[in-house]
């Protein structure tokens, strides 16, 4: 039927179709279902109340990340967080689901541990009750966030009903300029197409800057797909992907590894595949990015100026800018660099992997957090924490005046009560600068780990390119 070649999305999608349920809508097999403390036990309890067993507990994995304290010894975990942790333990053990508990290797932010444990694999269909599930697409998985009702459906049936999305390909070509990271690429893209630019699409990222990018950077790229509106983002797996996965605890081994890799090598868009939308970005033109407003699309280069509503003709756009500037406490037209900051947060499923912490430590080494600034480093997982400690990164951070914490989501969404105080300004390596995201009336600027450290040691938003060695 197809006159054209097939996209990566089509290849993975078709492999998971159990039945067509209506036009363009299929019942798909779920290969990996990841549960976390915020919604995992609720789904299991819902199912129990309906007397339905978990369909495939061996394909379901759980870890607490959202609501636990990241203080030493998990001190100060809020009461609800304790209840959710206890419920996750009870309900997973009652259903035969493997849970990676606090202090165990394997615990961590669900989108950090999936790839790290070899649970997330190329060609795999992965769902989780969390919108940043698109992260796993960095390995060539078809991964997306689902709501609570869909989560219960997956537990009950190991399937999900989905409408086939449109396809978009974004090519990032060229060499990354000094100081520019995966985070800057994806923020620049969101600024370019807008927070709804990818709505209804699965976005495939390609181009030389992607194929030259280490796997952890690809996870960061895919992580922010949902911030451009796309539920799914994905990158064709290649030799770097296979090398990253090989030997991980849940990765296939021996003869099965050889079979898997042979299958994974077919997972790329055919040269004559046709996409519904194509974009191309020369990464050589990108400079380190920082957000100024209350949507990830409110982003500019660190040498830029905050927009002035007076320059905007469209009343809806003008109004949106006015609301954002008022919330953020910024002057129209002011340079973004030099804006004083109170907090710095390095962590989240976007930027808490070992390579992120190395990049941050590189800037922090031998410098001090500016007086009046509180700066946290929250590793993405127990394994990231242990690896970072083995390299001495924790020491670099604490010597510089950063607080070194236990793994979890922490201040990215402040579900565990770890908040930026009202009215205070934070530079954060996380993914959302929404109103109230890091706490009521907290003001968030999104940036890369290196840019976050630059802000911490400068006491103000600063251009990391003037600081790196």
């Amino acid at each position: 039927m197809d006159k054209h070649g097939r996209t990566l999305l089509a290849k993975i999608w078709d492999q998971h179709v159990i039945a067509e349920v209506s036009d363009d809508t299929d019942l798909l097999h779920v290969d990996r279902h990841l549960l976390h403390d915020l919604g995992g036990s609720r789904g299991l309890i819902d199912l129990k109340s309906r007397n339905i067993p978990v369909h495939n507990p061996e394909l379901t994995f759980a870890t607490p990340d959202h609501a636990i304290s990241t203080a030493s010894g998990r001190a100060g975990t809020i009461k609800t967080g304790q209840e959710l942790l206890a419920a996750l333990r009870t309900e997973t053990s009652g259903s035969g689901i493997r849970m990676f508990d606090i202090d165990q290797p394997g615990q961590g932010i669900v989108h950090v541990i999936g790839p790290e444990l070899g649970l997330s694999l190329p060609g795999c269909l992965i769902v989780c009750g969390d919108s940043h599930t698109c992260t796993h697409g960095g390995l060539g998985a078809l991964a997306f966030g689902i709501g609570s009702s869909e989560l219960t459906h997956v537990l009950a049936t190991q399937t999900i009903i989905q409408r086939r999305p449109k396809t978009m390909r974004v090519r990032f070509d060229g060499r990354l300029p000094f100081g520019v990271t995966a985070k800057d690429l994806i923020l620049a893209l969101i600024g370019h197409v807008g927070a709804a630019g990818g709505t209804g699409y699965a976005v495939e990222y390609a181009g030389s800057a992607i194929s030259n990018m280490p796997v952890e950077g690809r996870l960061t790229i895919c992580n922010l797909s949902v911030e451009l509106g796309a539920k799914m983002g994905l990158i064709a797996p290649d030799e770097a992907t296979f090398a990253y996965i090989r030997g991980r605890p849940y990765a296939p081994q021996g003869e099965m590894w050889e079979r898997a890799v042979a299958a994974w090598r077919t997972l790329q868009s055919d040269t004559d595949a046709v996409f519904d939308r194509e974009l191309s970005i020369d990464v050589g033109t990108i400079i380190p990015q920082i957000t100024w407003g209350t949507s990830p699309e409110h982003v500019l280069g660190v040498d830029g100026r905050v927009p002035d509503p007076a320059d905007v003709a469209d009343p809806a756009r003008r109004g949106a800018i006015e609301i954002a500037l008022d919330y953020m406490g910024l002057e129209p037209g002011a340079p973004i660099a030099g804006t004083p900051v109170d907090w710095v947060f390095i962590g989240s499923c976007t930027n808490s992997r070992l390579s992120d912490l190395r990049a941050a430590a590189e800037v922090a080494r031998g410098r001090k957090v500016a007086p009046g600034v509180r700066a946290w480093v929250v590793p993405g997982s127990e394994t990231v924490k242990r690896d970072a400690v083995a390299e001495g990164l924790d020491k670099i951070f604490t010597d510089a005046g950063f607080e070194w914490r236990e793994p979890g989501c922490s201040m990215c969404l402040a579900a565990n009560g770890e908040t930026v105080p009202p009215g205070q300004r934070s530079v954060s390596t996380s993914n959302r600068n929404f109103i109230g995201r890091q706490g009521p009336r907290a003001r968030t600027h999104l940036a890369s780990p290196a840019m976050a450290v630059a802000a911490a040691v400068s006491g103000a938003i600063a251009d990391v390119r003037t600081m790196e060695r």
Binding site: L27, I45, A156, A196, G229, A320, R441
Partner: protein, 211 residues
């Protein structure tokens, strides 16, 4: 499980900001825990609806008459973007919202609406802007009608706008179908898929046997 949706004629409130995200619809600290259902309605749009001292923000539309009784929202672009939290839908439902009409929605929020018997309607931006203007001109006095059977939205002045909807979603809402029960009827197909997939992709199904 969900309440069926057929036709609704009700007060509609325009919330025309761009990118109203699910954190703004329901703040994380109000939705955390396994027993929050039923307590979420008063916290919907909390950061817009209440002043820092906890009192009602008189500027916010849902604090004004007649919009306090709104059952329909007319929304700006990309309403419900962001987090997958279904509590965003639950909170709107608990404050009485049954339908949301906008030019575009966050994908996961859109799916979550259907799971709870709430009808999200997509119309082009010019039509949305026209509806909002008409409602504001009448200061909310007019009623908006949403008819799922006919797939139409009728403005207070009687202008009818047809909308598209996935037939499966439409049937699910009209009949209040339970998706889990429907899928479990396909159990033999699921098992058959898994049996052949175990041979084709054993690394998916035998995960962790060595870990």
């Amino acid at each position: 499980m969900a309440q069926p949706f057929t036709k609704l004629t009700a007060i509609a409130a325009p919330i025309m900001r761009t990118n109203v995200d699910t954190d703004v619809i329901i703040s994380i600290n109000r939705m955390i825990g396994n027993s929050v259902r039923g307590s979420l309605g008063k916290w919907a749009f909390g950061s817009l609806r209440y002043l820092p001292d906890g009192s009602d923000n008189p500027e916010f539309i849902l604090n004004r008459e007649p919009y306090r009784a709104a059952e329909i929202l007319v929304t700006g672009p990309n309403f419900g973007c962001g987090s997958s939290r279904e509590a965003a839908v639950w909170s709107l439902q608990e404050m009485g919202i049954r339908a949301i009409i906008g030019s575009g929605f966050g994908d996961i929020f859109f799916a979550n609406c259907f799971q709870n018997g709430i009808l999200p309607v997509v119309l082009d931006k010019a039509t949305i802007d026209g509806l909002a203007a008409e409602i504001e001109a009448s200061q909310g006095a007019g009623r908006l009608s949403v008819d799922l059977q006919e797939q139409t939205v009728t403005s207070p002045s009687g202008a009818r706008h047809g909308f598209e909807i996935d037939p499966r979603r439409r049937a699910g809402l009209l009949e209040g179908l339970d998706e889990i029960s429907l899928t479990l009827r396909r159990e033999h197909e699921i098992r058959a898929f898994q049996a052949s997939d175990r041979a084709a992709r054993p690394w998916i199904h035998f995960a962790g046997q060595s870990a």
